[in-house]
Amino acid sequence: MTGGAMNRRGLIFVLPAVVFTLLAVGFYVGLGIDSNVLPSALIDQPAPRFELPPLPGGERGFSSADLPGHVSLVNVFASWCTPCRAEHPILNALAKTKRVAIYGINYKDKPDAALAWIAELGNPYTRIGADDGRVGIDWGVYGVPETFIVDRAGRIRYKHVGPLTQNDVERTILPLITRLER
């Protein structure tokens, strides 16, 4: 029996083990990815230029000129969005700490409904801009809620898709803000 034949017989035992390991690692990583969360193309890009009108009765809207100079949290929300309701207390609590400027983009909403929503749940936002969907596209928004962290230079540094939880705020948002303020 030649060495080649020996090797081939060894391969029969080793190859399935190797293939299995590769598949196991592939599935472990692949199934751990939340396919609902798409990576943003705008990370480390300057925030889009925009100018949004205020909700009725508001003095000022929200525009890209508000962003530079400090770290900001930009939250895209709507009164018709149930998960937004779930995340709202988290934003209220964060606003109370005055740790970061929170801006709101009210996405494809009826102004009256948005005002009633704010009146009912509280207003964590320094400024709110009403968006018919166009500015949302510039931010790469594909649903609500979405939350962005923008650095002092006005660059988008992080995007969170879906409702924020207390865990997200403590583990990700606050450490990131601290890092960006350094």
């Binding site: 494809k108 166009r134 609500v144 879906g162």
Partner: protein, 198 residues
């Protein structure tokens, strides 16, 4: 109403509804009720079902493009359709923005038409959307370094498979042409000799 990250909001017309309504319209009124009591009832039902299936099979998939979105210039509208077919609806994922009823898809269709009307080339319109939503928005992944394995993978597998196959056949041929030893030749001759005697 619009696109929520957690659940499909109520009241949005899904594509399924749209398709079934198209299907229903294909049936002339009263078709289902006709010929019910007769003896060949099963046959006629089967025939009607077959006709309906055939008609459904030949209809094109539902387009979500609404008349009020369309451009007046048919040439520009045709280009907008071309572009729309290339862009993924990020809410439904496996539909193009032309096929999707999602609000975001509607907004993107309007945006595509605006850019085209403003004189952008098709590639520039696609680049505009890609800059905001990333590669995922492209239904056809671009050919570049990051997608090399995606595009080259099948070819790589073909090469590996071909090489393995070639090796297998070569080793079989080599085994076949191994010459007989003198001893084997003698035995073969004696066997053949026995055979001819019988």
């Amino acid at each position: 109403m619009t696109d929520c990250h957690c659940e499909e909001p109520l009241g949005r017309r899904s594509n399924l509804d749209r398709q079934s309504s198209t299907g229903a319209r294909l049936l002339p009124p009263g078709t289902a009720r006709k010929g019910r009591p007769s003896g060949g009832r099963n046959d006629s039902i089967r025939l009607a079902a077959g006709v309906v299936m055939l008609l459904l099979a030949t209809t094109s998939p539902a387009q979500a493009v609404r008349p009020d979105e369309m451009l007046a210039d048919p040439g520009l509208e045709a280009r907008a359709r071309e572009v729309g077919r290339e862009l993924r609806c990020l809410v439904c994922r496996n539909q193009s923005i032309d096929d999707s009823d999602a609000d975001l898809a509607h907004d993107l269709r309007v945006l595509v038409r605006e850019r085209i009307k403003a004189g952008d080339s098709d590639d520039r319109v696609i680049a505009y959307v890609r800059a905001r939503y990333g590669d995922f928005v492209l239904l056809r992944p671009p050919f570049e370094l990051g997608t090399l394995l995606l595009w080259g993978g099948p070819l790589l597998l073909l090469v590996i498979g071909g090489a393995a196959l070639a090796r297998f056949y070569r080793s079989r041929r080599e085994a076949a042409v191994a010459p007989l030893s003198p001893d084997e030749r003698r035995r073969l001759a004696s066997i053949l000799g026995e055979g001819s005697e019988n």
